[in-house]
Symmetry: C2
Subunit: 272 residues, 2 copies
């Protein structure tokens, strides 16, 4: 398995499974582009657009847009890379995954600066980190950072000693993948609390009167919920996992009745 | 595989993995009992306790307590059954899983009645289903119902024709499991938006002043985030899955160099 990341991993799904898979990926893409468009439309059309420190109320608007860009759009695509790029070798997929994940970093950093500024530079200042949205945000950013460190550590090990560290790196994969989807789910949970706060702070009683902005805000939450369901299914359902991540590969039974087993571990499955 | 649900599935983890597993389950139990105790303490100590339609403000208090009981406590335990009860046969685990899942149903029904009452019987009434919390709630309850239907359909098929439906039922398992954890994650996302709404509606500007209730509400959200991480890891990490759910079982390589293969499909894994 030492050089497994240089192998391609295409073609293991049936045609029907492929069609369902690409259909689901297409819907996920619509949802990811949809939520990004909606948050931009919301901020520009209803919340006055963007500014930096000259207008801290508008500086805040970078926060939802960049957090959705980083945590949902970039991270969502980074996770889908391992499901989508079946025609490439694993190293290409790893580099693309890392690139998309790294794209999220400046978004998250600038977005965090924007929200602290919009609290600290107000007159009077708004306290920081009091709400459960901010607590969830700290946990989510912490997990994101941890994933980044684990990913780089694993990649650094790969560059240092590809063969000797293969077993250790393979052991990290399911943990890294599990924490990845959990981080994505927590990012969604954090986002919907953020939307709730903003809706109640700015729309106040208008929120319950089904004004246009109510629909725009709720539509973003609905998109995020749909993404949670779809991405959960696409990333966790083993039927869409590439063969390279699974422990077993099919060996055709020999036509003769004799078969020499040497230094391999053998597995069998009874027909269900 | 037709009678696989009558087999036990214990003893496949190493001692070290078992220790880590039971430690994580213990923490998950602390968090589930913790969030249930916290929500009860919060409602009784800060929100005036319970009443039915004679006081709709207090009737609302059933909503958070029963939703946490149903979606987090009962559903969380129902999902853990398949990881925990390795000493029983699968049918016992299935019945316990169904029992715990069914326990959640009255909680969710009464909780939904309570929240609709607390909107409709107010003077003036509060509109229903306007907030993103309610939209997320509808999606989560929908998924919960779908899971219930799929679970019963599968169990009914098992009773009708155990052997003939085994392959179909086995195909449902990963879908049911994936949607289960996604429903749990969405329930957490819905809960934290609910806490945010309640905190802003009742505490108003006191929420940002770190009053005692701020800590009690935020602690519940932090427990839920920790549960999302832990349950995500326990339920998705294949290292804690029972062998019966995996496709392969180890066959020791024969000591002789000859081995007769008959009507089985064989798989192999190279040593990593």
């Amino acid at each position: 398995m030492g050089r497994a990341h240089r192998e391609s991993y295409g073609g293991e799904m049936s045609t029907a499974a492929s069609m369902v898979f690409y259909c689901l990926v297409f819907i996920a893409e619509i949802l990811m582009f949809g939520v990004l468009s909606l948050v931009l439309f919301w901020v520009v059309h209803y919340r006055g657009g963007f500014a930096w420190r000259e207008d801290v109320k508008l500086e805040f608007n970078y926060h939802p847009v960049l957090m959705i860009t980083g945590f949902i759009f970039c991270m969502g695509h980074a996770m889908l890379v391992y499901r989508l790029f079946r025609c490439c070798n694993k190293l290409t997929a790893k580099i693309l995954h890392t690139f998309l994940y790294l794209l999220a970093v400046p978004c998250i950093v600038v977005s965090t600066i924007a929200v602290f500024d919009s609290h600290n530079l107000r007159d009077p200042p708004i306290p920081n980190l009091y709400s459960l949205h901010s607590w969830l945000g700290v946990i989510t950013i912490g997990l994101f950072g941890l994933q980044l460190v684990v990913g780089f550590f694993s990649f650094w090990l790969l560059l240092c000693c590809e063969h000797g560290t293969a077993k250790f790196r393979a052991g990290l994969v399911p943990v890294h993948a599990t924490f990845g989807i959990v981080t994505f789910m927590l990012a969604i949970a954090t986002a919907v609390t953020g939307y709730t706060e903003k809706a109640l702070f700015t729309l106040k009683s208008d929120y319950s009167k089904f004004v246009d902005e109510t629909w725009v805000i709720n539509a973003q939450a609905a998109c995020l919920a749909a993404l949670a369901i779809l991405m959960g299914f696409l990333l966790y359902s083993s039927r869409y996992a590439r063969v390279g991540t699974q422990a077993v590969a099919i060996v055709e039974p020999p036509s003769s009745s004799h078969y020499v087993m040497t230094q391999k571990t053998y597995y069998y499955r009874e027909h269900e």
